[in-house]
């Protein structure tokens, strides 16, 4: 389901062409705080304008296009701080944008159909949303501040706290799981008549969220956690 680029991305390519290939890169631009009006800028120019290293930008663009970051890629501390900012911005997108939108669709669906299952579906979603918020808060208040301190060279961060990248990777729960359940309930099991528009909007939103969450966890697993472990071992 994820996009696979047909070519290797390089810094001379124009951003607008990449967007034509995979419009979900708009999510990435937003998380990087890059204006959607990319004009004719190449990746190199865009990176210069927004002060992002090409290495990082291309690495994450590749992730969004279904290509993993090579194991030996190393990122500067500045890059990694940028990554944390990127992840924080995606939290905002989950917390205040996508989940509320989905919540709204589920609520509408329940209003339109008196079936008891849909009331339960709403309940299911609300419980799930609460779990997600808890996880996002945990990352914002414990995990990210730890990584920032580690990166900003605060002496003995690793030694003075009980926390570690390793613990983070364990705590790294799979919030994608219940999202799959929700999708499967809608695609395989729940009988809902008509209401095409609403159901399609809901499914589109679920797919978009699933896609971004998947990349989000890849960034954590393939960029942030290995870098954190590297610094701890120094």
């Amino acid at each position: 389901m994820y996009y696979h680029s047909k070519y290797r991305i390089n810094s001379e390519m124009k951003m607008i062409h990449l967007l034509e290939e995979n419009h979900l890169l708009l999510l990435m631009l937003q998380h990087f705080e890059i204006d959607f009006r990319v004009g004719d800028l190449t990746i190199a120019q865009l990176c210069r304008e927004y002060d992002i290293s090409e290495n990082l930008f291309i690495g994450i663009t590749n992730l969004y296009s279904g290509v993993r970051v090579a194991n030996n890629t190393s990122f500067s501390k500045k890059d990694l701080l940028r990554v944390i900012n990127f992840l924080k911005n995606s939290h905002t997108y989950y917390r205040s944008d996508k989940y509320p939108q989905i919540r709204n669709f589920v609520f509408q669906l329940k209003q339109n159909h008196p079936d008891k299952e849909l009331k339960l579906l709403e309940q299911f979603f609300d419980e799930y949303f609460a779990e997600v918020l808890e996880h996002l808060n945990y990352e914002d208040t414990i995990a990210f501040p730890y990584f920032i301190a580690l990166l900003e060279n605060k002496e003995n961060t690793a030694a003075s706290t009980n926390y570690s990248s390793d613990e983070y990777s364990e705590h790294h729960t799979d919030i994608e799981l219940k999202l799959k359940d929700l999708k499967n309930l809608l695609l395989k099991h729940l009988k809902i008549s008509d209401d095409w528009m609403l159901r399609r909007q809901l499914l589109f939103a679920l797919y978009e969220l699933e896609y971004d969450l998947y990349i989000h966890s890849l960034i954590e697993e393939t960029i942030l956690i290995p870098a954190g472990i590297g610094i701890e071992n120094e």
Binding site: K116, E117, L120, L121, Q123, F124, E127, Y128, L177, K178, K180, D181, L182, N184, L185, K188, H189, L190, K191
Partner: protein, 203 residues
């Protein structure tokens, strides 16, 4: 085309050192109707390391890879009795003394290559197992599901049904595989929508 071909996913490993050849073969298989997952390895040693425990259904190997290594090939067959080995030749050569189950040449037309590989599936011992996509749950699975949605632990379910915990776990896995639902609350909605349990228990 044989139906099982499309339904059961075949795991194929290409043993070939040339990137150009293995990618090319990948392209041919990818565009065919064979439902397969493809892995690569460069050398026979890599193959042993990567697939010692989990054998692919089919190994497609450049026949040069087996030169003077008949013993190792026999070893593969000993470890993985069901594996099918296809030889890939740079030119037409006489079949190498029974090392291969089938063979083709790099210059064969695409359809012929696909056909050579497809024919093999008929020989496969597991090709005739009808893998049903039927997702309806068995009676036992429904009993286990009822236990799950009522909040019982695996141990409690096992005791009430007089089966082992291990069996309960297997049933749970099958339930998830069939329904696509993993969480307890998701399964509850499933059970209600299929009228396995009544909503009144959950108001």
């Amino acid at each position: 085309m044989n139906k099982t071909l499309q339904q059961t996913q075949q795991h194929i490993v290409i043993l070939e050192a040339s990137k150009i050849i293995s990618e090319g073969l990948y392209g041919v298989l990818f565009h065919s109707e064979i439902n397969c997952k493809i892995d690569y390895c460069d050398t026979l040693d890599d193959f042993f390391e990567l697939f010692e425990t989990k054998a692919p259904h089919i190994l497609i190997a450049n026949s040069m890879q087996f030169l003077n290594r008949e013993k190792e090939v026999k070893k593969i067959r000993k470890i993985h009795p069901n594996i099918l080995i296809v030889g890939m030749d740079c030119m037409h050569m006489p079949k190498t003394n029974g090392l291969f189950d089938a063979s083709f040449s790099l210059y064969d037309p695409e359809e012929q290559i696909i056909q050579t590989i497809s024919k093999l599936f008929e020989k496969q011992p597991f090709a005739h197992q009808t893998k049903t996509d039927d997702e309806s749950l068995s009676e036992r699975e429904i009993e286990v599901l009822t236990g799950i949605v009522n909040g019982f632990s695996n141990k409690e379910i096992a005791e009430s049904l007089n089966i082992s915990v291990h069996t309960v776990v297997t049933h749970r896995k099958n339930i998830t595989a069939k329904t696509g639902i993993r969480s307890q609350s998701g399964l509850t909605i499933y059970a209600i929508s299929k009228e396995i349990i009544s909503i009144d228990d959950f108001s």
